[in-house]
């Protein structure tokens, strides 16, 4: 056996060893990938792993540790919460002074208008009278008054009203 042949055989043997080690490393790496997360962390110290596989495994572990897996429900809840926070922030920075002034003015105007239109006074009935009351729930009811009775009439003298406790006003017309 010549020296050249010996060198070639030694190189082949070395290549075979290296290929075997690479095979072992890749298969271990694949097993760690398919396994659970704690095993994956332990695998970083595994002597079977060669440098390329160790680097790949390390990057996978880093990604998994940085971003824990989230369920769809948690993701949706996070989304909804961030939307609410966004809306609250917008509302907090919005200038609502004109809206507040308009609201105050509208409430004051509505209150005054209601007070003026609902002002009533007792009136004496002079001739027999039949009044049709419209109750707060929309039902109709007739009631007859004799001379001398008292009814409550509003600013419009043809519009009468009667208070039903806990129910509201019945409005009547002559």
């Amino acid at each position: 056996m010549s020296v050249g042949t010996k060198i070639v055989e030694a190189r082949r043997a070395l290549e075979a060893v290296v290929r075997r080690e690479q095979f072992l490393s890749v298969s271990a790496y694949t097993r760690y990938l398919l396994g659970r997360q704690p095993d994956m962390v332990d695998g970083l110290d595994d002597p079977r792993l060669l440098e390329p596989e160790r680097v790949k495994l390390k990057s996978v572990v880093r990604i998994l540790l940085e971003e824990p897996p989230r369920g769809r429900l948690e993701a949706r809840a996070r989304h909804v919460l961030s939307e609410i926070a966004n809306l609250a922030g917008r509302l907090a920075t919005l200038d609502l002074r004109w809206m507040a002034r308009a609201l105050l003015g509208a409430l004051a105007f509505a209150g005054l208008a209601l007070a003026l239109t609902r002002t009533a006074q007792p009136c004496r009935v002079t001739s027999p009278l039949v009044v049709t009351w419209r109750l707060p729930d929309g039902a109709l009811e007739t009631q007859s008054f004799a001379p001398g009775d008292t009814v409550f009439c509003t600013v419009d003298p043809h519009r009468l009203r009667r208070w039903i406790p806990g129910f509201g006003y019945a409005w009547g017309s002559l």
């Binding site: 907090a92 209150g111 007070a115 009533a120 007792p122």
Partner: protein, 135 residues
């Protein structure tokens, strides 16, 4: 630092308490007049009309004042057709608007949610103080 914080908080409390006090003392008679009209002769015979109300305020009978607002808020006040919840909401809205305008006057940043929360605690504080004073 702490003095600044105290000043800011005091301003904020005043901006909330003044409109809340005004709407608590004047809100019920305003709602009553808006529902029953301006003339006392046209009012229904009820247990708490505006003269009675101001009598309660003058004699510091805080219990009936607080009770009236609680009954309005939960919608069971017999003086109002719908139990008074709509009137209570209108009073709260006007208190919110007034406290918002006052707060926006003193501080450059204006926060509508904070004004509403301030109005809420101011009203609750006034009503609980009144009911404590009356009992």
């Amino acid at each position: 630092m702490i003095a600044d914080l105290t000043a800011v908080l005091a301003k904020r409390a005043c901006a909330a308490l003044v409109p809340a006090l005004a709407s608590v003392s004047l809100g019920y008679p305003a709602a009553y007049v808006a529902v029953h009209g301006l003339k006392a002769s046209g009012w229904p015979p009820s247990f708490l009309d505006p003269p009675n109300w101001f009598e309660c305020l003058a004699t510091l009978d805080g219990r009936s004042v607080a009770d009236a607002y609680v009954a309005m808020a939960i919608g069971v006040h017999p003086v109002f057709a719908d139990g008074g919840s709509g009137e209570a909401a209108a009073l709260f809205a006007s208190g919110w608007a007034a406290s918002y305008l006052l707060a926006a006057r003193s501080t450059p940043g204006v926060n509508a949610i904070r004004a509403a929360i301030d109005n809420l605690w101011a009203v609750i504080a006034i009503l609980s103080a009144l009911s404590l004073a009356g009992s």
